[in-house]
Symmetry: C2
Subunit: 250 residues, 2 copies
Amino acid sequence: MTEDALLYRFSAFVDLTPLECTALHDMIGPGSSFDAGKRIQWEGDAVSGMFFLHEGWVLSSIIHSDGSRQVLKVHRSGDIMNGPSLPFETAVASLVALTPAKVSTFPIHKLGMLFAAHPRLAAVLFLNCQEERVTLMDRLAVGGQLGAKHSVAAFLLQLFDGRPPSDGSDAKLHIPLTQHQIADVLGLSPVHVNRVMVALEAEGLIKRSAPRTGRGGHIYEFPDTPRLKSLVDMPERVRRRNPTWLPMPT
Amino acid sequence: MTEDALLYRFSAFVDLTPLECTALHDMIGPGSSFDAGKRIQWEGDAVSGMFFLHEGWVLSSIIHSDGSRQVLKVHRSGDIMNGPSLPFETAVASLVALTPAKVSTFPIHKLGMLFAAHPRLAAVLFLNCQEERVTLMDRLAVGGQLGAKHSVAAFLLQLFDGRPPSDGSDAKLHIPLTQHQIADVLGLSPVHVNRVMVALEAEGLIKRSAPRTGRGGHIYEFPDTPRLKSLVDMPERVRRRNPTWLPMPT
DNA sequence: CGCCACCTTGAGGTCACTCAAGACGGGTGG
DNA sequence: CCACCCGTCTTGAGTGACCTCAAGGTGGCG
């Protein structure tokens, strides 16, 4: 299954050739495991490359000078991490494992080799980055204009829609974030997140139950996804797969 | 000067070889002119490529379903536009000329050729995209946590710091945005933007004067940039120029 | 048993919003 | 040259969303 996770982001845009698959495997270093709560990278570290998340949940966050924390992205299996740090001398964000996580490094000089040897893969990386940009733009739009209820609903729905294939396809989802962490994602206060959660549950839009195990998080169910989606009302973005303009596969 | 504008974003990361310069010029189509207020692209159009802004100001925005508008980016000379649309079937945002603007198209199939023939330039495009991502992340952080005063100050300061070289280097800056448009950028209401402006002026952090001409905008002065910067308090991001990991220049 | 992290709920305050009306200035037509 | 109009900026008053502070409840774990 770890193989599939690796190719997840890349094959979202193109059907990979076997040669490209092996090339990716060769470029990505051996994975190491991190316990829940362990820090994978500090904001301000020297930039050594990207990371690839095989398994688990990882939080990417920035500490503000007033001490408050802004979570920039909730990473899940298949995600490519630390791209935003590449243009700079030092890392932009910290990466913290939320659950036990398996992470590979994608050393930066191999990234250069990838651009030289596999232009199509490079283009896919570029597209992936542009898509992340759109994700941020949408968050900006939702958070800026609409209320906290919309933000929370959009957040939950995004995690639900984007769950990796291995998670099964029923309407339940374990989200290992505390309400405090969700607040950090959305730029709200923890107490207000709680109030919104209670309200959403009262309206029958979500259902929460205790986590099956240990630290943090809840299991969320979505009994009425259509109504939830209509509440959020995000524009439908359909990805263009195998666009004709990409360079020839290698 | 238009040549310089073209190379502005690229040479932010690397010193271009003459061959790369001519390659870029060849790939970018002839420029066409747009009057102020003219729409360059509609949200929902088919994606035909990127655009390159030689001269002028362009607003990139999304219309929400409730009619409100979110401005995603204020483009200025040298900017590469419409990148976020590339992964999708239809364009993500509308592009509207704010001032008379000169725009070239960067057809999508030539982008594929660029990835194949000029891996180093492709890598620079990738870095540029990652940097835009960071810009959005910072906006998210500022807008989410801090007040409207910070947002407005950060917005003005960002425009001031990022002004193209041709604009001269005195402490004056003509910003052709109405307060209503600034509100759309920041996700605030127009009246509140106005109140903040008045407050900032009362504190001596900015100074406004009438626009030299026609429609919209003001001339802003920044008599006390240090204090303004300390108010905004963004982390300093230093770009890494000519990183060693890039592919060989062509 | 008691600690700790998390969730929950209440009360009161502040920031930013909406609605509404007025001031200013440029552009147009008489 | 003047009257008028329209977009923009400005200002006031009232409302609502979200925040902070604070206290209490719950469950896991040593």
